[in-house]
Symmetry: D3
Subunit: 264 residues, 6 copies
Amino acid sequence: MHSVFIEELDAQTYAEHLARPGATIIIPAGATEQHGPHMPLGVDAMLSRTIAGAVAEKTGALVAPALCYGYKSQPRSGGGNHRAGTVSLGGCSLSQMVEDVVGSFIAQGFDNVVVLNGHFENYQFIYEGLDNAVARTRNPGAAARAMLLSYWDFVDEETLSKVFPDGFLGWDIEHGGILETSLMLLLHPALVKMDRVVDHPPAKLTPYDIFPEDPSRTPDSGCLSSAKGATAERGRLLFETVTSQVADALKNELLLGGMPLEAN
Amino acid sequence: MHSVFIEELDAQTYAEHLARPGATIIIPAGATEQHGPHMPLGVDAMLSRTIAGAVAEKTGALVAPALCYGYKSQPRSGGGNHRAGTVSLGGCSLSQMVEDVVGSFIAQGFDNVVVLNGHFENYQFIYEGLDNAVARTRNPGAAARAMLLSYWDFVDEETLSKVFPDGFLGWDIEHGGILETSLMLLLHPALVKMDRVVDHPPAKLTPYDIFPEDPSRTPDSGCLSSAKGATAERGRLLFETVTSQVADALKNELLLGGMPLEAN
Amino acid sequence: MHSVFIEELDAQTYAEHLARPGATIIIPAGATEQHGPHMPLGVDAMLSRTIAGAVAEKTGALVAPALCYGYKSQPRSGGGNHRAGTVSLGGCSLSQMVEDVVGSFIAQGFDNVVVLNGHFENYQFIYEGLDNAVARTRNPGAAARAMLLSYWDFVDEETLSKVFPDGFLGWDIEHGGILETSLMLLLHPALVKMDRVVDHPPAKLTPYDIFPEDPSRTPDSGCLSSAKGATAERGRLLFETVTSQVADALKNELLLGGMPLEAN
Amino acid sequence: MHSVFIEELDAQTYAEHLARPGATIIIPAGATEQHGPHMPLGVDAMLSRTIAGAVAEKTGALVAPALCYGYKSQPRSGGGNHRAGTVSLGGCSLSQMVEDVVGSFIAQGFDNVVVLNGHFENYQFIYEGLDNAVARTRNPGAAARAMLLSYWDFVDEETLSKVFPDGFLGWDIEHGGILETSLMLLLHPALVKMDRVVDHPPAKLTPYDIFPEDPSRTPDSGCLSSAKGATAERGRLLFETVTSQVADALKNELLLGGMPLEAN
Amino acid sequence: MHSVFIEELDAQTYAEHLARPGATIIIPAGATEQHGPHMPLGVDAMLSRTIAGAVAEKTGALVAPALCYGYKSQPRSGGGNHRAGTVSLGGCSLSQMVEDVVGSFIAQGFDNVVVLNGHFENYQFIYEGLDNAVARTRNPGAAARAMLLSYWDFVDEETLSKVFPDGFLGWDIEHGGILETSLMLLLHPALVKMDRVVDHPPAKLTPYDIFPEDPSRTPDSGCLSSAKGATAERGRLLFETVTSQVADALKNELLLGGMPLEAN
Amino acid sequence: MHSVFIEELDAQTYAEHLARPGATIIIPAGATEQHGPHMPLGVDAMLSRTIAGAVAEKTGALVAPALCYGYKSQPRSGGGNHRAGTVSLGGCSLSQMVEDVVGSFIAQGFDNVVVLNGHFENYQFIYEGLDNAVARTRNPGAAARAMLLSYWDFVDEETLSKVFPDGFLGWDIEHGGILETSLMLLLHPALVKMDRVVDHPPAKLTPYDIFPEDPSRTPDSGCLSSAKGATAERGRLLFETVTSQVADALKNELLLGGMPLEAN
């Protein structure tokens, strides 16, 4: 069985996939962003790519190279764009890149294009790029259908209560927190330094943004909450919930082409 | 006492304001968007403008003409961009317009520029425009400071429990619901037709978006929840909480110029 | 009878209008610009909106929210972009905003889109946006038709001679002059301070522009001619001529849908 | 004595000019546009370039290569963009090109940059490009100054009355008319076919624009008035007035570097 | 027989050409760029225009006004963008200008659009503009076909060995060298000063670029190799090879309309 | 010793690097593009990333996440943009993305930014983005220096003669040929299927491009030459030459910060 990641596929194998009815590509969208002293800069791209891979295996889809640079990190969800290690795109740049890449996949003949987002601040700019790409290519009667999601929106209540037994405070402060750290402990444990995890209370977020950013509003750690409770076990709970829920959503919404190529 | 709305001010009075230390301008950001059969298309612009006016009176700020067209309405927060009455800007258009307008106010000498948002989908694109305007004008040592907020983010728990005694389900489904309808009943009652309020359960929102939009996912009413419980009284609770909280935030974060001009 | 301003219409009433053959929307285009010490910053938006409303009543059209920010004020027609109170958009921003808004109305199904301009400097950039919007949406065979006009171009010779008995010197120097002040005295008298009207000779305009602007070339008042002769009576002459002439032009050029909805 | 046209200058001679105080470059702006059956498509570029050359000789300036493609021809001033022979740029393209070229000349060290326009529809889009270029380069304290003009705006009343003894009807209908034809007869007589000059009354222009353009509104000839009265003699009157007036304006407004290089 | 240059054609003659099957337009693309002390700034535009004219005569095509400003001169092929006399466009500006102009010719009805490039650095940005213009206009079934070439790529081995008897070192160092100087001696001899030709060895080019440019890496002359060996005779060899090879390529690739109009 | 790839570094380690004098970041630029039936779509990104990693180890630099989508594949260097597996960005999108990413690294404090390109068609658009980023950030006196290179331009004659004993025909036809296949056999052997290598003569490339692309001009294999002669041994020769030559160029041109952090 071959890889689901198209960067590892030869063009012939790729073309065979593309020729199948319901051909589906998943584009992971990440960022290059500080995630505290205990996790690497590539967390968002790594997680979205790995989750996309698992969803692809469940649905017969392929996975495109991850978007490794994302929209500007914001103080209220990512610690801010001023921190060392955070490297960002402007809004129009990101929207245009998404429009080009998605338009390119649709032009090749994919029936379904999914963007699986792993960086909070990306969502609206990807939405714009996707909307434009689909509008631009809709005319010729092409039946291409696109989908946009952030993986954490598929964590259900039951999993939440297990992963956050002391109460869940919202996805926004999960930057560098239990969610991401647990998933990294499961999927890329060598890149996590649990001995460096900070132990501070959740950041108090203001209900507004200030420009230019005020660095003093972000905890020194760069994390918006502590990852003390992170474990690989909790990572597994999250991973399994997310990948199965996302896979189900794809099956419900898109005309997928049946089982993976190898299973035919 | 003169108006706080600059479209009604002559240039001389305006210039006197501008010359005061801590001169502050608030830009309301709305949309032209269907809000169900019982409310007019201009709800977002009307509410953000009226709230901005009240905040201006409490802080000595002025209010700029409202941005009357907003980012594309989305099914998960506004019913979708396909509905009759919804007229939208693309993402880059909106960001660029904000960058121009904010840059223009900063160039004139305002110390503080606040964008007070009243349309959910606008936030990230205004963020981008504000960030660029402030970055562009920061060089010359100008100490301009900007702030971005959506007014509903200032409703506190106590008010929420009074306005939504049966439980609050999230701001996203409040499109055309109790929040906006109560405020409109207070502030623009002649434009609300309570006999047309629909009575359907809150829309079940998917945790993802689909392109092209699927019109069948939005309730026929165009509202994401029922406004049955809306009253002017609840509108007053919301209005007073929001305007005083926002005014406090401005006072805390910005170097305001003391009391309104008339009070000097 | 309901309002012709769509920000005050509910989506259902709006949709009924839209469904009529010959559905027509008028978009007023103004600016936020100093108009001397005697008039408010919003003159261009107020006048274009009020005139659009009167034209709509004569033609069965609807009126969209006014574009409240316009292209950079120029010394030869608006006193210049450097003056306090003048807040402007760049050329591409304005064209793109117009393209988005007009494209949005066409996509909804309007047969006719009219932009009624009230700020001299806007014209060419709106032209570009309109041209692009119509070109972009022409393909599918949609019969949408658009029209662009500045309201003062409909003042006929007879009216001119009555309003300017001492001779008419051109629309360019009418910034803050008799035309606009008379109309404001008729339509928004509370916002005009006739005791502040300057009494200086018409500005001597050069047949060229200089960059960066030279503030000394604009009269201190910010007006390019004196509004001494302005009266509400002259405002009425202008208003009646303009609104009936513009309405006639719409009737001649566009396939309007007959009488207003209420008259059916 | 060497050429004033920089495309014909070697870099060394050019650099000597540039090093002089008050170094001035004139950029002619034309179009590729039908000018009736009797004149070539390049009229606007040819006339602006030749006039710029004469002004340069009077002022010690140099002339840059002409902008040969202009903004979309409009029915009310150029016959419309739909006619064979008319090849146009969009508004943002033109503004951006001007910003780049002007910015490039300023960066090299020119003290003064003049754009001499010969195509009616260009003016506002060049204005935007010039304004942006000067704003962008103003920061470092560079004292660059720019000027924008259309050559016909320098024809004085006396010349008008001689060239149009039967009355002057406005520059807008002069597309392919007496002004341009007379100048071409003087400057490029081999490219004018007077036997093909049409003899129809001036086009009746509407005070508005329609989109998409209605080809029936433009006379079949593509000219907005007849060039019957055009003569080389009238061309000489126009040419001498325009070149001396424009040269005077440059001398008054700009710090020119004294006499031409050869005269030093 | 009339000119092949459309700026010299009246609209009627132009329209007759356009109506022929296989109507073809060639757009020369040059630059304004220093070419050493012995040649003028307009070399690239002059050569591409003259070569285009000769090709047009061999193929029945027409020639559009040359693009006189090109992409930023680079140290490895044009001496760099910092040198006096070099005036450039940004990449997006150039691509957009090409897209507009090419799109305009296709919309008018040309069957074939050829861009004949004479400035090394232009190629990729013109490619982008052409690709977008053709993609944009392909939908309606229009059979427009476009072609892009740089003229020196048509010099064959035999000619190379005659023109560079001591060995050919690559087109990149030919900036201001034997190729261009020989062609100028043939086609525009009055603009070449052979007594100023520098005699230095070919520039040693690095296999990389540095930003900001390091002026010391370009020879003082601005030329990347010596033009000592340039002669009009060699210019003729080059000109005849290039024009006949390019004409053959057009005939092979495009459906040309047979012989020139005059020959019909 | 820690990784040189910043996606694997935590923010604290990254910040320590950044604080060193001469801090240098290398951005690999690849593409998603078919490379024949025997190699995967990610060849360009993989090779540029791996080579960047080796250069980083020799110079103390860090490596940024690779740009995984590149400019449109062209028939004359990459087989064309129409082939299955090739997913591309437009020119302005790529330039803008590079400008944002490079500008972000400079703003953080890197002294040197290197883009190491592995996709032929990218070069000019990356050049534009780099040039703009450096120009934009140059003002504040920041001494940031940038460098752009394509790795194959560092293969010396001696290596060429060993790798291509039958003669080297140019980098353009090496798409999917011996160069890339040998490097992949060395660096990512599991992703190469040598039994699928095609055996056809080098593609005959025209000296021009045609739009829309003519698929019949590219060999069915998608490769422009045969990779029959590819071996891991030749890959090693190429890899060692390229990495040591590029490292030397960095040391010569940039002020590097001495040895890697661990060695200090």
